[in-house]
């Protein structure tokens, strides 16, 4: 019993639970157990104050900085326009507003008197130096997976920041901190991540960063009524600060399934060609990841993309369909040009006075390049002097390159053929002349 409780709570309690072991009634046992447990957890020991070491090896600080970027620590611990890591960012949760705390080494308002031991306990157990529970808005359910070495590096980094004397803003959560112990007993799974030997080292590195310090699931996994991530729905999309964090698993709403390359580019630069640009809370995450080594960003991308377990064929189908929808939508822009410039004659058809060929029947729409059609539209079909032939006016000058591109895209869609690649490029070439 004692051991069980110690395992779920994870901290070294002085209280012994052995004397309850003979009680057989399950509900009584639970009630008493919970009460004793709350009491015991609510009184974690404080860790002795220290004068923190002021110097650390340069490499360790650099490593800590990189990890702090991966963890987007600033997201909560730096308010916009405020001093770095001095806290104050409000995080609105369904339970109340929690403010990111001052984690600069200021001895009074920051964590300047925290030893590495206290820092490690906060990261792994969600308990501050004084022994009080931290609300799990601080994602120690993820950070608990970080290695000793990484936590020490983070410690070296924060302890070498500029100390800022700035009082913490507290929180508006109406629950006593003791209740967090119950939460921890159910949802805090301690211990390192077991590497998957069947996967590459890169994937395992990604898994470690994503599940640990990166705490991606904190936003991208839905939470239950107690605010814990639903582990059986991991990465299926969550809510954060009024934004929806899209699913990263097979239910990813991305019209085009992500590739590792696209994800890496997105995480590093905030935009990938065939995907949306970062917005909302993700902007800060990418800002930080832009300063992380390519290797780690790629590892993160590798792991995240692997969460989508759809087969290559399924992904290709989804991708093709999305591209086709995008082309069709794009073609609608050309529709407006067609209505004004072409429809008058071409909707009449050859049979009518002044009518011209119905364009879905046009050969120029079906050949593998848009060049023929572009030439015809720009230069018209003008008979040589003295010859009788069909005739079409030239639209050179009347249509901009962009309008011509839209029109060509639309006409190609009319033909029922797959879209031409790089219509804009072909138009540019033709505009420049031979």
């Amino acid at each position: 019993m004692n051991r069980v409780f110690r395992d779920v709570c994870g901290c070294t309690h002085k209280a012994s639970f052995t004397r309850f072991s003979k009680i057989r009634s399950r509900s009584t046992l639970l009630a008493i157990g919970a009460a004793a447990f709350l009491w015991s957890c609510a009184s974690h020991e404080s860790v002795a104050q220290v004068d923190s070491p002021k110097s650390f090896p340069r490499a360790q600080i650099a490593k800590g900085q990189e990890l702090a970027h991966i963890g987007n620590c600033m997201g909560c611990h730096t308010v916009e326009g405020g001093k770095p890591y001095a806290g104050g960012t409000p995080l609105k949760t369904p339970f109340g507003t929690i403010h990111g705390t001052n984690i600069t080494p200021d001895p009074e308002t920051g964590i300047g008197r925290w030893s590495l031991e206290a820092f490690t306990r906060a990261m792994r157990e969600g308990v501050d130096r004084e022994g009080r529970n931290l609300f799990p808005a601080f994602p120690y359910d993820h950070f608990t997976k970080a290695t000793d070495e990484d936590i020490a590096a983070l410690y070296a980094f924060v302890m070498t920041r500029e100390p800022v004397n700035q009082k913490n803003l507290g929180n508006s959560v109406p629950l006593p901190r003791a209740t967090v112990s119950v939460w921890k007993s159910r949802y805090l799974q301690r211990g390192a991540l077991t590497p998957d030997a069947t996967k590459t080292p890169e994937w395992n590195r990604g898994a470690y960063l994503v599940e640990g310090l990166g705490h991606c699931g904190a936003c991208h996994t839905p939470r239950n009524t107690l605010g814990a991530e639903k582990k059986d729905e991991a990465f299926s999309g969550g809510e954060v600060e009024g934004w929806h964090a899209p699913a990263l698993n097979s239910s990813s709403p991305s019209p085009i399934p992500w590739t590792v390359e696209a994800m890496q580019t997105y995480l590093k630069h905030g935009v990938a060609d065939l995907h949306a640009q970062t917005a909302g809370p993700m902007v800060g995450v990418v800002h930080d990841l832009s300063q992380v080594s390519d290797g780690d960003v790629r590892a993160i991308a590798t792991y995240i993309v692997s969460l989508d377990t759809r087969s290559a064929e399924q992904r290709k189908r989804a991708s093709d369909a999305a591209l086709e929808r995008a082309r069709a939508a794009l073609a609608q822009k050309g529709n407006a040009v067609y209505d004004g410039a072409c429809a008058d004659c071409h909707n009449r058809g050859r049979g009518q006075e002044g009518g011209a060929l119905e364009l879905p029947l046009g050969t120029a729409l079906t050949v593998p390049t848009p060049r023929n059609l572009a030439h015809i539209i720009r230069d018209g079909i003008v008979p040589h002097e003295g010859e009788r032939t069909g005739w079409m006016p030239a639209f050179a000058g009347a249509l901009t390159d962009e309008q011509l591109t839209d029109l060509l895209t639309y006409l190609r869609a009319l033909s029922g053929q797959p879209a031409w690649p790089d219509v804009a490029g072909e138009v540019r070439k033709i505009s420049k002349g031979p």
């Binding site: 407006a336 209505d339 004004g340 410039a341 000058g397 901009t400």
Partner: protein, 154 residues
Amino acid sequence: MKLDVNGRVQDVEADPATPLLYVLRDNLGLNAAKFGCGLGQCGACVVMADGEAIYSCITPISVLEKRKIKTVEGLGTVEKPGPMQRAFIEAQAAQCGYCIPGMMMRAQALLEKTPNASEAEIRSALQPQLCRCGTHTRILHAVVRAGELMRGKS
């Protein structure tokens, strides 16, 4: 929608598919550009868009938003004709005059791009502009003269 004609941005209430020619004449009261064939064959309706000669009878206003349209009214006034207009008056290039606005605008587009256009280049550029009266020779003289005036030769 808004159209920029001769440097004045004006609100136009018309179907986006309406040809520019109708909007110029019926909505904006700019009667220089003429309706000839309505098919972009004769050149009587030619005006400029972003420096290029276009057939206003076949160009819908939907493609002209935010582009600079220029008509003969933008070349000068009766009291103060521009170089192209002065040259056409000097050369007495008009017979019936119906084709002249289109001639002037295509010539203007040419000279704005190629100030030193040769006579051969002028002939080639004006090829799509038809004149039933047969004043081609005078028109050619006028355009050559317009080039001189634009280059500051009096």
